[in-house]
Structure formats: structure tokens, C-alpha cells
């Protein structure tokens, strides 16, 4: 038995190639049912996201090459694509490598944005598609469950998904750092703009209870207020309302400071020195940098936020190194579990085979024994069974040993001797 994975991702293939190969949920099931023929490929699963298309399968043969070739030719046939269109972008992993790859994908170590949480759901969906299609078997069940376990471990034991890697989420995170919970905070949006809107929306879904919007043109303010469920304010009332806001998002096209140091100072004393957080995403800047020098006021402009994002990404990468260690130890565990998983049916088949021979012989010779008391009958049967056990016991031990040490050839020899299937 061999596990193989054939696929491409954002690192190996451009979007033009990825989109041609992507699968919908329905297409997944159909493809799997055709691909998994029960002969060459015994199990199969397709992970298809905007960043990757991967086919995971198990083969009956010990060598995965044939299966891998089958999968890639199948892909090109079914999508009517010439081989040279995507073969160069394809990667193939077998056995331990394939297991490692699946674990890394599920743990979001192979993602474009390392640590993004969506990929786990995508793996789950791929699995449930395979289950529905009936192409997930003993090995894939185990593999996927183990991968989900690894992903959970990585998430809870490393900070891989801890810090925001987009500007608007960084704003939410910094807000949390200052105010603790955002529940009960008031957000004031000065100006309009996509980024301001996005940040306000994130803040509101993170718990901010009140959103105020102001703009030089009141209509624009009203439009935005309606969109993000806020209250529009007249621009002239800005100084009066500045003190109410805990978080101020500034995004206007003004060429001068909208929030001057004096204005901020007044607001600060009106709000009794309670901290406030200014997010200035306008260029040129709208909040006087001197505001940030006042106690309890924190000002972040676009560059600052971008620097935070960059450092968060570096932090994630550091955490990813720790995650790789977890993956490595889990791969070892899985490989070990897989070996014992694999031997079970062989042992059972061997026992059954020997027992069948003994039963058949007994049946054939039974008439020669003449009349037996039920006790004698049981004794004969027990005698046969214990002989079978005594013979099979050392063989099974030997099998287990070969299995644990990975001597595939020896295993194969035993299977051939008794005509057992893998």
C-alpha cells in the first residue's frame, strides 16, 4: 500500500493554470468515483481551493509511481488539457512525504498567508466530499483525522494564527490591546473610503457598540452611515464629538490636519484623560503626529499599520518553524500507526486461511473417526485449533517484526506464500 499526492499550488502554478484545474464540490464527487477504480487506486480525495488543487490517493501497489502517473494523465484528460500545460507545475509526494504535505496544508503552513484559518475548513469539506463519494477508506479516514488533530495542535500550541496580517484587522487588534474588549466603545469615522469602511466594519463586528460618521459633504456621511449602521454627523460638530470617540478612523482627502494637537488636547481633557486610538489612513496625513505625543493618545498612520502587519508576518513565520517540529513528530506517529493499521487485515486473513484448511480437513476425515461423544468431538476440534494457533503464532510474530522494521519485501514474501491480499 502506498499513499500518493499529486497537485499544484500557488507556489508552483500561476492562477491561469490553477483555475483551469479547480473542482466544484459536484465535480469532485464525480471525478473521484471515476478515478478510484478499486484496482490501481483504492481511495481518493480532492482538495480544491483558489490556491491549490491536490489529489490524494492510496494505491494497492507498494510503489506509488504508477498511481501518480494515472492521476496526472486523468487530470489532463478530464479537463482536456495538453500534458505540457500543467505537468511542469505538478508536484508528486509519496508516503511519508505525502503525509507531511497533508499535515502542513491542514495546519496552514503551506498557505499563501501562513496561518490563515480557512484552509482547515477546506480540507474538512474535501474529506466530506470524499466520504459522500464513497472514496475515503481506512487509510484516508485515519490520515484526515490525524491531519485535523495536527492542525488543532499547531493552532493551540503556536502563535501561527495569532496576529493580524491585514491593515483593518491590525486596527481591531490594536484597539483590543488598548481597550481590552471593544464592547461599549464608540468609533468615529472621519471621511469616507474603502479602507475606513472596512476597518469600521471589523471594529463593529468585534463589538464596538456605536459608530459615528462625519464628512465635509453630509450626503456622503449619510450614505456611509447607512451602509455600516452608524449615525451621520455634521462636519462642523466634529470638535464636539471627538471626545465621545474611543477609536477614530481618519480618511479624508484634506491637505491639512483635520485633528490638530489643540483639538485632540481639548477632547482628551473632555473625556477625562481616557485613552483614545487614532487610525489615520489618509495620505497626506489628517492627524497631527504631535497628537501621538500626548499621554493616553495613540496614533497609527498607514505606514505604522503596515509596519505592524509586516512584523506580524515575520512573527508568524517564526511560529511556523515551531509548527514544523510539531508536524514532524506527528508524521512519525502517523507512519507508525499506519504500519500497524496495515497489518491487521493480513493477520486476520492468515488466521482465517489456516483455520479454513483445518476445518476442511476435519470435514473430509470426519467419517473415518466413527461415532464420537460430543466431548470427544469438541476435543478433536480444540486439538486442531490449537495446532493452527501454534503454527500461526511464530509467523504472526515474524510478520509484526518485519512490519515494524519496515521490511516490505519479507512481508510480501509471506503474503505470497499464503496467497493473501494486501
Amino acid at each position: 500500500m502506498s499513499i500518493i499526492l499529486v497537485g499544484l499550488n500557488h507556489k508552483t502554478a500561476p492562477v491561469e493554470v490553477r483555475e483551469r484545474l479547480a473542482f466544484t464540490d459536484e465535480a469532485c464527487a464525480e471525478t473521484l468515483q471515476t478515478l478510484v477504480d478499486g484496482e490501481l487506486l483504492s481511495e481518493g480525495l480532492i482538495v480544491s481551493t483558489c490556491n491549490r488543487v491536490e489529489v490524494l490517493a492510496t494505491t494497492r501497489s507498494l510503489n506509488g509511481d504508477e498511481g501518480a502517473a494515472r492521476i496526472s494523465s486523468f487530470l489532463s484528460e478530464m479537463r482536456h488539457l495538453p500534458d505540457n500545460f500543467f505537468l511542469g507545475h505538478l508536484y508528486t509526494h509519496a508516503d511519508e512525504e505525502a503525509v507531511r504535505h497533508v499535515f502542513r496544508v491542514a495546519s496552514s503552513l503551506d498557505s499563501m498567508v501562513v496561518g490563515e484559518p480557512q484552509v482547515l475548513g477546506q480540507v474538512r469539506r474535501a474529506y466530506s466530499n470524499a466520504v459522500t463519494a464513497g472514496t475515503a477508506g481506512r487509510v484516508l479516514h485515519r490520515l484526515v483525522h490525524h491531519a485535523l488533530h495536527v492542525a488543532k495542535r499547531v493552532r493551540s500550541e503556536t502563535g501561527i494564527g495569532a496576529n493580524a496580517v491585514s491593515i483593518s484587522f491590525t486596527a481591531v487588534e490594536l484597539g483590543r490591546k488598548i481597550f481590552g474588549s471593544l464592547k461599549g466603545t464608540t468609533v468615529l469615522v472621519i471621511g469616507a473610503g474603502e479602507m475606513a469602511e472596512l476597518a469600521a466594519q471589523h471594529l463593529s463586528s468585534a463589538g464596538a457598540s456605536r459608530i459615528l460618521v462625519t464628512n465635509r459633504t453630509i450626503e456622503t456621511a449619510e450614505q456611509l452611515a447607512q451602509k455600516i449602521k452608524g449615525t451621520a454627523l455634521d462636519f462642523s460638530s466634529l470638535p464636539a464629538h471627538l471626545a465621545e470617540a474611543d477609536i477614530i478612523i481618519c480618511s479624508t482627502a484634506a491637505n491639512e490636519y483635520v485633528v490638530t494637537e489643540e483639538l485632540a488636547r481639548e477632547a482628551l481633557s473632555a473625556r477625562q484623560q481616557r485613552p483614545a486610538f487614532f487610525i489615520d489612513i489618509s495620505v497626506p496625513r489628517n492627524v497631527d503626529p504631535a497628537v501621538g505625543e500626548l499621554d493616553n493618545l495613540f496614533v497609527f498612520d498607514v505606514d505604522d499599520l503596515e509596519a505592524v502587519v509586516a512584523s506580524n508576518i515575520r512573527e508568524r513565520e517564526r511560529e511556523a518553524e515551531r509548527a514544523e517540529l510539531i508536524v514532524e513528530s506527528e508524521v512519525m506517529q502517523f507512519q507508525q500507526a499506519l504500519r500497524s493499521l496495515d497489518l491487521g487485515p493480513t493477520v486476520a486473513a492468515l488466521r482465517q486461511k489456516l483455520e479454513e484448511i483445518a476445518q476442511a480437513e476435519l470435514k473430509r476425515q470426519r467419517s473415518r473417526l466413527g461415532d464420537l461423544t460430543p466431548e470427544q468431538e469438541r476435543a478433536v476440534e480444540a486439538l486442531l485449533m490449537s495446532t493452527v494457533n501454534k503454527i500461526s503464532h511464530p509467523i504472526i510474530n515474524r510478520l509484526r517484526h518485519s512490519h515494524d522494521t519496515g521490511e516490505e519485501e519479507t512481508l510480501k514474501a509471506w503474503r505470497d506464500t499464503f496467497g493473501l491480499e494486501e
Binding site: G159, N163, K177, Q273, N296
Partner: protein, 271 residues
């Protein structure tokens, strides 16, 4: 050898090590070990405290050894309260090592038969003496919590202003939370300190007819009291950074009050 105290020490050291590890590696399981170990240490510590009381026949709060050990005990109580109220894990990372350190110090310091303290406790209004010391030691613990919260505040405030964040930043509670912890603990500490000073004055006037001895401990206690009084008075204008600075400075005075007088002599020197 006090085996109960030794048990407490071992548990505290274990708790401290696990608290630091949990902080560094964010492992829930390690954190649980730290908390359970702390609870075990606290139980043993309480038992040691009670058995001392029974054995010596008096409230065990006179010599330096006992004061250090009791201070550690009150810190655990303070941590328990803060943990229960705010679910702040980071606090334990700073507090548990200190607790372990104080208990170690308590075990190393020679226990001296303290005649003067005994005389005071036996003298007029002697029953006030243990109340006086207990109030003050709890006040020290509260001021340590103020200090830890203020340090966390200042560290984060600095990083927010400089916009560069260390690994520590992400593991600390929010500014509002530490500010809240600091001001609550300061209020409690100030109340306890006031009560401690009042009981001390009562005791002193009963025994010597004077309420003030110009003793360094008294002077530092009064300075601490005045500092916190000012801070509480200006708590609105001084919110955030300024009150955190006071929390750190105030703790400097508290250390002088607790230990400094030992080096400078005076009425409050025992043992």
C-alpha cells in the same frame, strides 16, 4: 526544619517555573500545572502558618522570617483575587517567582527569639499589634500588584508609542485591564496602609504615649501614604501613564518602608 514550609516552597518553585514556561510557550496545560501547584503550595503554606501559630502560642508575625513568609502568603491571596476577577495570566509570571523567592528568603533567614516584639504584644493594647502588622503586610502585597500592573502598563504604552512590538507585548493584558487592576489595587493598598498606620499610632500611644517616633519606617510609610493620597485625589487627571509611573515610584517607597529601615535603624527594628 519546617517541612510544611518546605513543601510550600517546592510547590511554589514548581508553580513559578511552569508560569514562566506557560507565558513563553502559551501552553494551556502548563498553565494549569502552575495554578494547581500554586494552590497546593498555598495550602501547605497556610498549614505551616497555622502550625507555627499553635506551636509558638502567638500570632506568627514578628520577626523578619515570619514577615517574609507572610508577605509571600498575602501575595498569593492577592494573585488569587486578581486571577479570579480579571483572568490575567501574565500577572502570575511575575508574581509566582517573587513568591518562591520570598519563601526561600524566609527559610534562609535565621529565626531569632524576638524579645521586643514579645514585649509589645504583651504590653498595653498588645492585641492591636498583630492587626497592625497584618494590615501592613497585606498593603505591601496590594502595592506589589499595583507595581506589576503599572510596569505592564508602561511597557505596553511605550511599545504602542514607538510602534514596535516585542513578543512580550502580545502576551500582556490590555492597557485598560492593567490600568483597572492597578487603580483597584492602589485603592485597596491605600485603605490597608491607612488602617495599618492608624492601628500603629493607637498601639504606640497606648504603650509610649507618643504616636510618632521619627523612625525611618514611619517616615517612608507616611511618604507612601501621601503619594497614593495625591494619586487618588488626581486620579482623573493622572489616568493611564502618570498613575502607572506613580505605581512604580510608590513601590520603591514601599520597598524602603519594608526593608530600608532595617539598614537605617529606629523604633521599628526588631530581631
Amino acid at each position: 526544619m519546617n517541612y510544611l514550609l518546605l513543601t510550600a516552597l517546592v510547590a511554589y518553585v514548581n508553580a513559578a517555573v511552569h508560569a514562566v514556561l506557560a507565558f513563553a510557550y502559551k501552553r494551556r496545560a502548563v498553565e494549569r500545572v502552575a495554578l494547581m501547584s500554586l494552590a497546593l503550595g498555598f495550602a501547605a503554606h497556610t498549614a505551616a502558618f497555622l502550625s507555627d501559630w499553635i506551636q509558638d502560642g502567638h500570632y506568627p508575625l514578628f520577626g523578619l522570617r515570619e514577615a517574609l513568609s507572610f508577605l509571600a502568603w498575602t501575595l498569593v491571596v492577592a494573585y488569587g483575587l486578581a486571577h479570579f476577577r480579571y483572568q490575567v495570566k501574565a500577572l502570575g509570571t511575575f508574581l509566582m517567582p517573587l513568591v518562591a523567592f520570598l519563601v526561600t528568603a524566609a527559610m534562609l533567614v535565621k529565626s531569632s527569639a524576638d524579645m521586643r516584639a514579645g514585649t509589645i504584644a504583651a504590653g498595653a493594647a498588645g492585641w492591636v499589634f498583630p492587626i497592625h502588622t497584618t494590615f501592613l503586610i497585606f498593603a505591601y502585597a496590594a502595592f506589589f500588584v499595583v507595581f506589576a500592573a503599572s510596569a505592564m502598563y508602561l511597557w505596553q504604552e511605550r511599545e504602542l508609542k514607538l510602534k514596535t512590538f516585542s513578543a512580550l507585548f502580545h502576551r500582556l493584558p490590555s492597557l485598560t485591564t492593567v490600568d483597572d487592576i492597578g487603580s483597584t489595587a492602589a485603592g485597596i493598598g491605600f485603605t490597608l496602609l491607612s488602617l495599618g498606620i492608624i492601628t500603629g499610632a493607637i498601639l504606640s500611644s497606648q504603650q509610649t504615649g507618643r504616636i510618632w517616633h521619627n523612625d525611618p519606617k514611619e517616615i517612608f510609610a507616611l511618604l507612601t501614604w501621601l503619594l497614593y493620597l495625591t494619586m487618588i485625589h488626581y486620579r482623573i487627571q493622572w489616568r493611564g501613564r502618570k498613575s502607572a509611573l506613580v505605581g512604580v515610584a510608590g513601590f520603591g517607597l514601599v520597598i524602603f518602608t519594608f526593608l530600608g529601615t532595617r539598614l537605617m535603624g529606629g523604633y521599628h527594628v526588631f530581631g
